[in-house]
């Protein structure tokens, strides 16, 4: 469903991504792990074109989204949802409005349709009663769940998570992970940059280990966590497990 071929990203003299190639299947949950500065987030942001790839191709459902002559970037982004480390909810809108604004403005849904959809999503993330709350009135975990609902409201083909629990207090991490697990079980295609090894082990179908802008190792959680082959992977895992 998402196919990445030889992806490079350079910022002037900084070579962040050095030829990433991988393929993500429909309904697959892929976790990307690796040390800070390894290019995990940049890779994720390239997939929905928040960063413009310097080289290489990204195919989403066999359409080359790096081909700007034929692709409307906004349409691509509408199909690939993104959940951020710092939630990035819109502080001037209520939880409900955060969820409805994109479907109404981008998809052209009526307000009623969008609200129906939003209430169902709020139900799903367990925050139906917080529909009229503003982000500042919500805890970090609640904000992140609203952010997931906001991304889901666009009915995306895939969801990208950029360290979704890194900015959360420890006791709020689980509520967000639970929502993500539910999504995974429902067959959502997910790419998750995370430091939650427990989540990766439990939910991921495949784990990518990235360092220095490259995928050094990939495989099932079992293979990566129990019998890592790459020296760098072993070193990294020994420090965090």
């Amino acid at each position: 469903m998402i196919k990445v071929v030889n992806l490079h990203k350079r910022y002037r003299h900084l070579h962040v991504l050095k030829g990433i190639s991988t393929e993500i299947q429909q309904g697959e949950v892929v976790c990307i792990i690796g040390p800070s500065g390894s290019g995990k987030s940049t890779f994720l942001r390239c997939i929905n074109l928040l960063e413009k790839p310097s080289e290489g191709h990204i195919y989403i459902e066999n359409i080359d989204v790096t081909d700007h002559s034929r692709i409307n970037v906004n349409e691509v982004r509408a199909e690939v949802g993104m959940v951020f480390q710092r939630f990035n909810l819109f502080p001037h809108l209520t939880a409900l409005e955060n969820i409805t604004i994109a479907p109404v403005k981008v998809r052209g849904l009526s307000t009623e349709e969008a609200q129906d959809r939003a209430y169902k999503l709020l139900e799903r993330v367990g925050l139906r009663h917080k529909a009229d709350a503003y982000p500042e009135q919500l805890s970090g975990g609640q904000q992140q769940r609203i952010a997931i609902a906001r991304a889901l409201a666009m009915k995306p083909k895939a969801l990208l998570f950029d360290e979704p629990t890194s900015a959360l207090d420890p006791e709020m991490i689980q509520e967000v992970l639970d929502v993500m697990k539910d999504l995974a079980h429902e067959g959502m295609t997910m790419v998750v940059v995370t430091h939650e090894m427990g989540f990766a082990r439990e939910v991921a179908k495949r784990v990518l280990f990235m360092d220095d802008g490259q995928i050094l190792e990939e495989g099932t959680p079992q293979a990566i966590f129990s019998t890592p082959k790459n020296e760098r992977t072993k070193q990294f895992l020994s420090k965090i497990l």
Binding site: L50, G81, M82, F84
Partner: protein, 327 residues
């Protein structure tokens, strides 16, 4: 001898006449009066320290000739009390004129309505100029941040030029610099003078626009980049993200600095007095040429400006405090 006798008779007659004259005339000029006039009239009269019920001009009757009176006049609140004047009442009609000196704030009070009216013009000029400035500045501010080199450059030149030159020079450029150009464009070659009000409004609006543009730009750039990314990740176009996500948040943050801009413009608008625009400062200058009271008048003008700016200063401080808590 005969002449001598005649002379004695004549003298005696004249003497008799004089004596009888004074005696006979007495009842005619029997009433001794004292008429008190003053400048200005309508002053309270204190006669030997006692306040009378009536005010100047007043004619007192039933006075005894030779009576000594001390008069003090007062006309509050604009006049000091007059210097005490001692009058010895002579028989018959007496007149006394007493000037009352003005207090130091006499001219301040006298010209207050005129100055307030001029302050109204200052306020009006400022409101219109800042209103225009907000319209010009919102567009210019957005032009400075959008991804369009041409718009960036045009907005940049406008803002740099306006903020980098004195407002006084801008006023001169418009009021004295453009009439020849207009004349040239019309083909007559004769300068077309501009109404001071129009020049003033143009100069202040253009000046305000540049400052507002910077406020708007700073407001937009103060919004976390994550907001734009989140909006774009949901498929919104740059325009939609700006309109529905960035600008609503930025405009809220921009309100206190806009208040400050209004206060600054209220004060800076005094510069248009140099082209004869009849606002507060210009009006004060005209009054001073008439009264020769620069100290009082300028103090008064300062106070009027202070009274106009103070509520806005407080309002801005309040808004800043409220915004801080909601952020």
């Amino acid at each position: 001898m005969k002449l001598k006798v005649t002379l004695i008779f004549v003298v005696a007659f004249l003497l008799c006449l004089a004596v009888s004259g004074t005696v006979l005339c007495e009842p005619v000029s029997e009433i001794t009066t004292l008429t008190i006039t003053s400048d200005p009239e309508g002053a309270d009269i204190y006669l030997n320290g006692q306040k009378l019920d009536q005010q100047t001009p007043l004619t007192l009757e039933n006075l005894q000739p030779g009576q000594e009176i001390e008069l003090v006049l007062r006309k509050p609140p604009l006049y000091k009390k007059s210097i005490p004047k001692k009058v010895t009442v002579k028989p018959g009609k007496n007149n006394v004129f007493i000037p009352i000196p003005e207090t130091w704030y006499y001219y301040m009070w006298l010209y207050l309505p005129t100055l307030l009216k001029a302050a109204g013009m200052t306020l009006f000029l400022t409101i219109i100029a800042v209103f225009n400035g907000i319209i010009i500045g919102t567009f210019t501010g957005i032009f400075r941040v959008v991804h369009n080199k041409l718009l960036n450059t045009i907005a940049g030149i406008y803002v740099d030029f306006t903020r980098g030159t004195p407002l006084l020079v801008q006023i001169f450029m418009i009021h004295f610099g453009t009439p020849p150009i207009i004349g040239h464009l019309l083909g007559t070659g004769n300068p077309v003078p501009i109404n001071p009000f129009v020049s003033a409004l143009l100069a202040l609006s253009i000046n305000s626009g540049a400052y507002v543009a910077e406020i708007i730009r700073a407001g937009i750039q103060s919004i976390d980049v994550g907001q734009m990314e989140a909006a774009r990740s949901l498929g919104m176009t740059y325009r939609q993200a700006m309109r529905f996500i960035i600008l609503p948040q930025a405009l809220k943050r921009v309100i206190p600095p806009l208040g400050n801009e209004f206060i600054a413009m209220l004060k800076d608008s005094s510069l248009v007095s140099v082209i004869g625009m009849e606002e507060l400062v210009r009006r004060a200058q005209v009054i001073i040429t008439r009264t020769y009271r620069p100290t009082e008048t300028w103090i008064e003008v300062g106070l009027i400006f202070l009274i106009m700016t103070l509520p806005f200063t407080r309002l801005v401080a309040y808004l800043e405090r409220r915004l801080k808590t909601s952020d």
